[in-house]
């Protein structure tokens, strides 16, 4: 089969999974006694609508999608190198914590300050990701377990840092001081948080796409992840390639954390972790490990979240948790993709028969 055909199938599977997820979620809404069509209209209007430059859901969706794009991309890079790391959440927290610390305690001029902070956050995420990768490659320790445990460690570490060394005042919720104005990322429009971080995320997508597709180290990484025995046989230094992938993956998650602090919250507070890392994993799954598709999926997920919050909860008094429910249902259908592949195949077969074309015989 031509590879382009494989891609078409993948795209079709994802689209069918989304449609099936929306249909089933519509049934949830109907169960609450509300009209699902009106609910979806409100949801998409709130999530993707555009009334004016200052009054629209679309820009906020873009802002919300920024960290999803980056953690999704981090998950893609890890999985491409053959490591099923679920540690993006921890790396994201490490990046955020470092950004909140250096953003408020080090004083540097404009441009240099955020650049330096972002570099340090990326390094923190990379180191945090390197550990499970190294344990896997050198000692064969299961990366799912180590990266998961390291997520918990990151939450606890962040909680300690926010409560003690970085605590700014005696308010009821522990939080750090606001980062210097010099370190804050610029926004595109007053009153919106959508800003430079989004550009950084898109640039990261482009760089990773080129790195994986067009460079020699990217090739080594992909081949090592796809077929390790083949890579070692061909003389690829797989351990190096995979560890390199883990460093990049962690750096991307760390970047997401830094952007969230410097561009959105300006400080870190107790309970900062919102599961962005895990959402990134889901984005990567629905995007079928394609860096480009990650952007589309992340924006889609962010829009559903926002739409559920504003469109459903605020205007139809349907709990906003339904947004998470819709996403989870879609992921469930993605996991059952063989079902759709079966449909696609039978459909294709019927078309061929109807058209009188004989099924192609392979070698």
């Amino acid at each position: 089969m031509k590879r382009s055909a494989v891609w078409k199938d993948r795209l079709l599977t994802s689209v069918l999974a989304v449609v099936a997820g929306l249909v089933v979620s519509g049934a949830y809404i109907a169960l609450t006694g509300k009209d699902p069509f009106k609910a979806y209209f409100e949801l998409f209007k709130a999530g993707f609508g555009f009334e004016s430059l200052t009054r629209n859901g679309l820009f906020q969706t873009f802002q919300l999608s920024t960290s999803l794009i980056l953690t999704g991309l981090a998950a893609v890079v890890a999985m491409k190198s053959g490591i099923f790391s679920i540690g993006q959440e921890g790396q994201y927290l490490m990046g955020a914590t470092v950004a909140a610390w250096l953003g408020s305690s080090v004083h540097l001029p404009y441009v240099i300050h955020p650049a330096a902070v972002i570099a340090c956050s990326m390094a923190a995420g990379a180191i945090y990701s390197f550990i499970p990768g190294w344990l896997k490659v050198k000692l064969g320790v299961n990366e799912i377990i180590t990266s998961f445990l390291m997520n918990n460690m990151a939450v606890l570490l962040m909680t300690y840092i926010v409560n003690f060394p970085l605590r700014a005042d005696k308010g009821s919720t522990a939080h750090s001081a606001i980062v210097d104005e010099t370190a804050q990322l610029p926004v595109f429009f007053q009153g919106s948080k959508w800003g430079a971080g989004f550009i950084l995320a898109l640039a990261a997508v482009a760089i990773i796409h080129i790195y994986l597709k067009r460079t020699a180290p990217g090739y080594a990484l992909r081949i090592s992840g796809e077929a390790l025995p083949f890579a070692s046989y061909g003389g690829i230094r797989s351990a190096r390639a995979v560890l390199c992938g883990m460093l990049i993956s962690g750096a991307l998650a760390g970047l997401a954390g830094a952007i969230e602090i410097l561009g959105v919250y300006r400080r870190i507070m107790q309970g900062f972790s919102t599961g962005v890392g895990f959402d990134g994993l889901m984005v990567a799954i629905l995007a079928k490990n394609s860096p480009i598709a990650v952007v589309v999926v992340a924006i889609f997920f962010a829009g559903i979240r926002l739409g559920a919050q504003i469109g459903l909860q605020a205007s139809m008094s349907i709990p906003r948790e339904l947004g998470g429910g819709i996403i989870a249902t879609i992921i469930l259908f993605v996991a059952a993709e063989s079902l759709f592949l079966g449909f696609i195949e039978t459909g294709r077969l019927k078309w061929r028969k109807a058209l009188g074309v004989e099924g192609g015989r392979g070698e």
Binding site: T215, A227, A231, G234, G362
Partner: protein, 504 residues
């Protein structure tokens, strides 16, 4: 006269890969006959047998057992109809005894308790009836491969198989074991059992079968009595063209030593030594063969020489340089090429495109990358060059490799490994599972490499291959080289004795 098994118009289509594996196939197996089904790899033999054994229900067509139409949705149904199968990879419990394995699932019991005595007795009767001697109380892990195969056959017979399917049964056997297997098959036929032998080894068809069905590209292209058939005739039916059997090969003109292995000790996967002090030398312009039954340390030796497995002791030199502790990459740079035994997982990346497969050993070189960026044009040309030079059918540089036939996959491996004129080539089972046409191609390529001045080390369990290609033959047994024979000295008998650990 009704047939033991009759398959009519069987069609099997795999939508996921678009392969029509069987196209309206008819197969008729007579009662008490040994029937060979031959065909190239990918001809659809295995799919057809899977349909008969209930592993895959055909998309259309019907199956008749003893003249009455049946449905075989799963192997249980097949066994119930008296159809038994001996798989290529045995399905036995190593720690159980022979009797326990044979009776597994059909145990004799009394009041809910197992009765080993009754089992032992019934197994003994079976062995006597069919002349299949195996010690019934030995744990299976202590048996040789040939004996394990007997246990598999007994398992099927215990389930009252009247039709026995054997999938490439001789692939793992020595010549002596093969001969005794054929004895057993004849005895089975004499007792009224029908035997279906799936194979691509034509001499075996002539030696044991009465009728042969030839398949090509999913279709039956012929069915005839074996009496009067010749190998070239069957090969022509199978491949659809004339096949040259003996590769033309002039005398070797050995030059300097290219590969030198000294007192090499290599640990197996379990930690126990698998290679115990091997010494060997391969010179430029000669093909040296390592014969032996599978699992006598050949894989570990190959992995140590190529750098995939560390050497515990000893020394490996390539072209005069000590590479004992060098990684794969430097050994390849030193002019080493490797045709691995498992092309599906080691030799190729099934998920990657053809060009990504072609560049694995050379992607970081100046010709294919610059400043860390892959150069698309040269890579495409390089892959296209392999496709053209090796006549890889229905392939494109950006296409995948997983849908290619075994022979075409191996051509890609060969094309990649032989590009850049390697000085040393290690070929491990380079023709395993290939059809006669592709085997001929691989053999020619190896001989051509030798004549160009490369040193070739060929590891194979196929004696025909070793004898057709090698200038010197080493026999490996129990992790050691137990004998060296010149091309002239070697005979199947001598090799067979050495391969089983005997002395000449």
């Amino acid at each position: 006269m009704s047939y033991a098994v009759e398959m009519r118009g069987i069609t099997n289509y795999f939508p996921s890969s678009g392969v029509l594996a069987n196209k309206a196939v008819d197969l008729r197996i007579g009662k008490a006959e040994i029937h060979a089904v031959i065909g190239e790899n990918g001809a659809g033999k295995t799919t057809l047998m899977n349909s008969l054994y209930g592993l895959r229900e055909p998309d259309s067509g019907e199956i008749l057992v003893d003249g009455s139409p049946v449905r075989i949705p799963n192997p249980e149904a097949a066994i119930g109809l008296g159809v038994g199968m001996v798989h290529q990879h045995f399905k036995l419990v190593p720690s159980f005894t022979v009797t326990e394995n044979i009776c597994l699932g059909v145990e004799s019991s009394r009041l809910g308790f197992l009765s080993p005595a009754a089992e032992l007795e019934s197994v003994g009767e079976l062995m006597e009836k069919y002349g299949l001697g195996v010690d019934p109380k030995t744990p299976v892990r202590e048996l040789s491969v040939g004996m394990r195969q007997r246990v598999e056959i007994l398992k099927a017979l215990k389930r009252k198989a009247k039709v026995l399917l054997l999938d490439e049964p001789t692939a793992v056997l020595t010549p002596q074991e093969t001969a005794s297997l054929f004895e057993v098959l004849r005895k089975l036929a004499a007792e009224g059992c029908s035997v279906v032998l799936i194979t691509h080894k034509l001499p075996e068809v002539l030696a044991v079968a009465e009728t042969v069905t030839v398949m090509r590209r999913g279709e039956v292209v012929g069915r005839r009595p074996v009496a009067g058939a010749t190998i070239p005739e069957l090969a022509r039916m199978m491949v659809g063209r004339e096949v040259v059997f003996s590769v033309e090969r002039g005398a070797a003109r050995p030059g300097e030593t290219e590969l030198l292995v000294r007192d090499l000790v290599v640990a197996g996967s379990g930690g126990a030594p698998a290679v115990l002090g091997v010494n060997l030398r391969v010179r430029r312009g000669e093909i040296v063969g390592i014969a032996g039954v599978n699992g006598n340390g050949q894989s570990e030796l190959v992995e140590a020489i190529t750098g995939l497995r560390p050497a515990e002791l000893g020394r490996i030199e390539l072209g005069g340089t000590d590479v004992t502790s060098e990684p794969v990459r430097s050994r390849r740079r030193a002019g080493g090429a490797h045709i691995p035994e498992d092309r599906m997982t080691t030799g190729l990346d099934m998920q990657a495109s053809l060009e990504e497969n072609a560049i694995v050993a050379s992607y970081s070189g100046k010709a294919l990358s610059r400043f860390g960026f892959l150069r698309r044009r040269p890579i495409r040309d390089f892959a296209q060059g392999i496709i053209d030079d090796y006549a890889v059918a229905s392939a494109s540089p950006e296409g995948g490799v997983s849908t290619l036939s075994g022979g075409n996959m191996q051509k890609i491996v060969l094309g990649r490994e032989l590009s850049g004129a390697p000085r040393f080539i290690l070929a491990n089972q380079p023709t395993r599972g290939l059809d006669v046409g592709s085997i001929e191609f691989v053999h020619r390529a190896l001989v051509a490499a030798r004549d160009r001045g490369a040193a070739v080390l060929l590891v194979s369990v196929e004696l025909d291959e070793i004898r057709a290609l090698c200038d010197r033959i080493l026999v490996m047994y129990g992790g050691r080289i137990v004998g060296e024979l010149s091309e002239a000295e070697a005979s199947d008998e001598k090799l067979g004795i050495l391969m089983l650990g005997g002395k000449l």
